[in-house]
């Protein structure tokens, strides 16, 4: 039966053709190794980099320097960098707003239509009236369209900043105020994407992180969404 087949003209043709290169097992091996190499390359070279979706950022309703209100829902769809301080914070108190100012000055480098905003939460509502916040905004040349200075009820602030953002601060009995300087990057879905727990983070790094989130928002549509989800899956986070 098979020897009949082997002697028919069709089989002869296949015998005459050079078939070494197209050996089917070889094709399977090549495809398999391509798949493995592809996955490894994706996981190590990280062609698509993302920031982790760390946890939910807190919900809040706070008052700004002009007596207006600012809520976390207002920041939905906007990329927001938060810092926490008080206007009476003078050296040696760490000047985190200096970093905010530097970031504000360089936001123009990121070409996007996505709104990127800055929020400074004052932890000292007793002293930081809207007038005090306005003076502080002037001191740091805060662009009122972009940089919001807010505060609120002391007890609520503890839930928002302490409980929600996980940033420690305390008014000591001797009147001293201590806090752990921190910056938080929150995406348009209200999810914390980066935390910088230092008084002087690298501004270049903050800008790189902002860019990464902007790119993810702008590019992760259609099939590219799978590449971005794969990047989250394989923890393709930027180094350093």
């Amino acid at each position: 039966m098979s020897s009949n087949l082997a002697h028919n003209p069709g089989a002869r043709r296949s015998i005459e053709q050079p078939t070494r290169l197209l050996n089917p097992m070889r094709v399977v091996y090549v495809l398999l190794s391509l798949l493995v190499v592809g996955v490894l390359a994706f996981a190590t070279l990280r062609p698509v980099q993302v920031l982790p979706r760390i946890r939910l950022a807190p919900g809040f309703l706070l008052t700004d320097a002009y007596g207006g209100r600012l809520t976390n829902e207002d920041m939905r769809g906007r990329l927001t960098l938060y810092n926490f301080t008080r206007t009476r914070c003078e050296a040696p108190c760490p000047q985190t707003s200096q970093v905010m100012q530097a970031v504000q000055a360089r936001l123009g480098e990121i070409e996007t239509d996505l709104p990127i905003e800055l929020v400074t939460i004052s932890l000292d509502p007793e002293y930081d009236t809207p007038a005090a916040l306005q003076a502080y905004a002037q001191k740091w040349q805060a662009d009122p369209q972009r940089w919001h200075l807010v505060t609120g009820d002391a007890e609520r602030l503890k839930w928002i900043v302490g409980g929600g953002f996980g940033v420690y601060y305390a008014f000591k009995e001797d009147g001293r105020f201590t806090f752990d300087p921190a910056f938080m990057l929150v995406d348009g879905a209200g999810i914390l994407r980066a935390e910088y727990r230092t008084a002087s983070p690298d501004v270049d790094r903050i800008l790189r992180d902002l860019r990464l989130v902007v790119q993810e928002v702008e590019n992760s549509t259609g099939a590219a969404r799978y590449a971005y989800e794969a990047a989250h899956l394989f923890l393709c986070y930027p180094r350093g």
Partner: protein, 222 residues
């Protein structure tokens, strides 16, 4: 068997294979390809990979969310940790809510229906943002209308703020009409917590119940 060895002899001599072998190899390769694809799909759906396409927004936190203790609709004190071992769909709303909350609760009841017996370990929990009007008795009456298995939680203003704030829930009272009384603006997301109490997925208002049910099937398998 003997014809098989004939054929291999022939191919060994000529350095090529007869056509039927090519067919067999082709069919085998396709079948192997299907098997590989299937195996990869199985692998991808297991921990720690997770399915590639959740409908909700995935949160990667590997620590359980903060705990809180409130009063349920029977008057008992209940903590979020009491639901460990169950998958929890957590929602913040209030019973006088005119449209958003009933729509969401109706959708969550549909999620549970869609899962059928697989949904036994799925617990829907609504935390009231209006403790002044949402007494346990009122919550019990309201939730029974959607699904008797739903848990409703209420407490003091402070307890509720401490529960809601770290989960990104904004809420604020504002004046309604004489007929409705005051209303509460609030974040209308639904949060999915896995069996370990970690927030895993966030759904915006109006996510189709079928999409939530598909994700829940995965979380319930863990």
């Amino acid at each position: 068997m003997s014809s098989h060895s004939d054929a291999t002899d022939l191919s060994a001599h000529s350095g090529a294979r007869p056509r039927w072998q090519w067919w067999a190899i082709g069919v085998g390769a396709v079948a192997f390809g299907f098997f590989l694809g299937w195996a990869l799909l199985q692998l991808v759906q297991q921990r720690p990979f997770g399915p590639p396409n959740f409908h909700g927004t995935v949160i990667q936190s590997d620590t359980p969310t903060h705990n809180f203790t409130l009063t349920d609709q029977t008057g008992a004190r209940v903590s979020l940790t009491d639901f460990r071992g169950k998958v929890v769909l957590l929602y913040f709303g209030y019973t006088y809510c005119p449209d958003v909350c009933p729509a969401t609760l109706r959708d969550l009841a549909r999620v549970k229906q869609a899962l059928g017996s697989a949904g036994g370990d799925l617990q829907v929990v609504m935390v009231s943002l209006d403790p002044a009007r949402d007494t346990p008795a009122h919550l019990a009456e309201y939730l029974a209308y959607f699904d008797p298995s739903f848990v409703g939680l209420t407490g003091s203003e402070n307890e509720i703020a401490a529960a809601a704030t770290p989960l990104g829930i904004f809420y604020e009272k504002h004046a309604g009409t004489v007929a409705t009384g005051y209303l509460i603006d609030h974040t209308a997301s639904v949060l999915a917590l896995d069996r370990g109490g970690r927030v895993r997925l966030v759904y915006p208002f109006n996510t189709p119940p079928a999409a939530i049910a598909a994700d829940m099937r995965y979380l319930l398998r863990d």
